[in-house]
Symmetry: D3
Subunit: 134 residues, 6 copies
């Protein structure tokens, strides 16, 4: 199971270009959420190999504004699985381009479910359910 | 104050075009979150006339998948204000294009803060603080 | 009929982010037209519940450049309906973020038609035709 | 002057990809208008070498829906210049990918003005004003 | 054949807007490649009227950074055809908006192939194969 | 040095959504190149902590079309450094969503240079130059 978690870990790196900025000249939070949702979706799909959907997002925290001259790395990792839901922790690590500073800029918890072609809930095809991994 | 809430209410209507779809042929959740964040930001800015940032999002619920032939309307409304934080309820109403059906497809609660040019927290310039409106 | 007009009114709010600017550092006119066309399309679809297309745009006026630190609200409203065409007035209201100023930045008139799946013109399914509402 | 018109002619070719489609599975009209505005802006800038803005668009006609398996070419050409305004004809030629058919899918007339850095109107730096070229 | 080359020549003009810039405030190279690929694809499709794919790109040279206040014109031209491959030269000409300077900012060579609906290679339906045109 | 290579490795995962497709219903090659350029840029910036630019791309090979129901992972890795140039290998790994198949769909070699604020070439601030790592 540990191997399955490692293999499903998903990273999206983005450089802060002007088209990612909001009116305050920092990284647009809506874009952070979009990247996080895509990362969570990919991690969930890799983990289950089923047709996954975002069901719920809790505790999306914007910790520090991300400014130009920064690299943003979104990391999605499965942290829990039960019969019907997958819990995925998603973190945005900001890294200064011309310095060695790194910090967690945003984080959140995604709950993903599997739906069939008629969008009806499906059991997750994973082993060792109900275990908390982190 | 009631007038200020009404005046700051913010709506973003979107038609479901192919460029809004995910791999499951339904509206991409990350895009819903992006539209919600922009609507919450505009409502907060209209309410305070200050430099607003998203601080926290709680309880983002995806209630029903939004499929093609649908119109999506994101509605952001201020529901609470205290000295430092504005609470905004954001709802996605889905409306079938060729039928009269409407349903709530997603909802969430955004907490917004005011920051100055150095990104330091500022008091909100609103009256009658600590009141819950809804 | 009055109620149908009110119910079909469509609003798209947008904050002026760097990715909306042209080479003159003001809101790109092509984007204004794109937002207006989407708003007109949604208003027309809500009004008729038919498969609508933009047929003609007249008198697209750019009245004042929209600069950063502005909120833009596109408002589309049905103003006339006859057997084959719907006329929709679309206005862009600009609102300064950190001030109370509002002004009409752009306006235009869209003519929409209904087409069937073979893209052949269809009669509009509306009552009280040929009436000018505004 | 004739040479200046030829040199300022501007073409934008686009293939119809899924991200260009509307809810009716044809090329989104708002995107056509966006491409036309960018083409008109470039043609005007090439002609005057001044800071140009779209002032007015008249008679935007959508003649035929553009469907997948089509190449779209937007062509902007200066057709008139007076002391303060440049008139530009913009045409969208649709060309079937796997056939030899070509047709005019949309056309419009853009009026462009020159503004200085304070967004005040400027005289156009062109010769032989008031002449109609086409 | 010469006429076929001229007719398939494809131009995409773009103005340098903030949403085209990288973190160094110059035109994002990845966007240049995207525009070049679309131009090469259109030129190849116009030339063969077959279902074309990019197979190989060689020698993509970024000669000079393209900065704001510039117009970029991507030009794709067929330079060679044999039984299975089309060779297309793509050039990015940069033109200063408020000056008469023009320079080649980037260039590359694309090799395109025809595939059928099952993505199997197809012979090109062109005459006078193996001829080098430029 | 080995640690520096590992730390600068950059991954961008993307799910194949309809807005990533070309006219042939497969992943648009221009978008692959855009993702690769952003990944190469980030890897180069992480490695040197200098202001990096793409100078040259060689041997961009599109090996297999990427179709819907696939996850794409772009991986950029530094493979060589000398006094003025960084060589970066970029690979696109395609992974079937609902199967265990993985394959290399595209690959290329990027050469990156450092420029100062006046866009003049700079020496790379790396150790053990001229070494080939892979």
């Amino acid at each position: 199971m540990h191997k399955q978690i490692i293999n499903s870990e998903t990273r999206i790196c983005k450089a802060i270009f002007p088209n990612t900025l909001n009116a305050n000249n920092s990284l647009f939070g809506g874009l952070i959420m979009q990247w996080m949702d895509e990362a969570a979706y990919i991690a969930a799909t890799r983990f289950t190999k089923q047709r996954m959907f975002t069901h719920h997002v809790s505790d999306m925290k914007f910790i520090k504004a991300v400014v130009p001259n920064t690299i943003a790395e979104v990391i999605a990792k499965v942290v829990k699985a039960d019969a019907l839901r997958l819990t995925i922790k998603v973190t945005l690590i900001a890294e200064e381009m011309y310095d060695d500073n790194c910090y967690t800029a945003a984080e959140s918890v995604f709950t993903m479910v599997a739906l069939n072609e008629q969008n009806k809930p499906q059991k997750l095809q994973v082993h060792n359910l109900e275990t908390i991994y982190y």
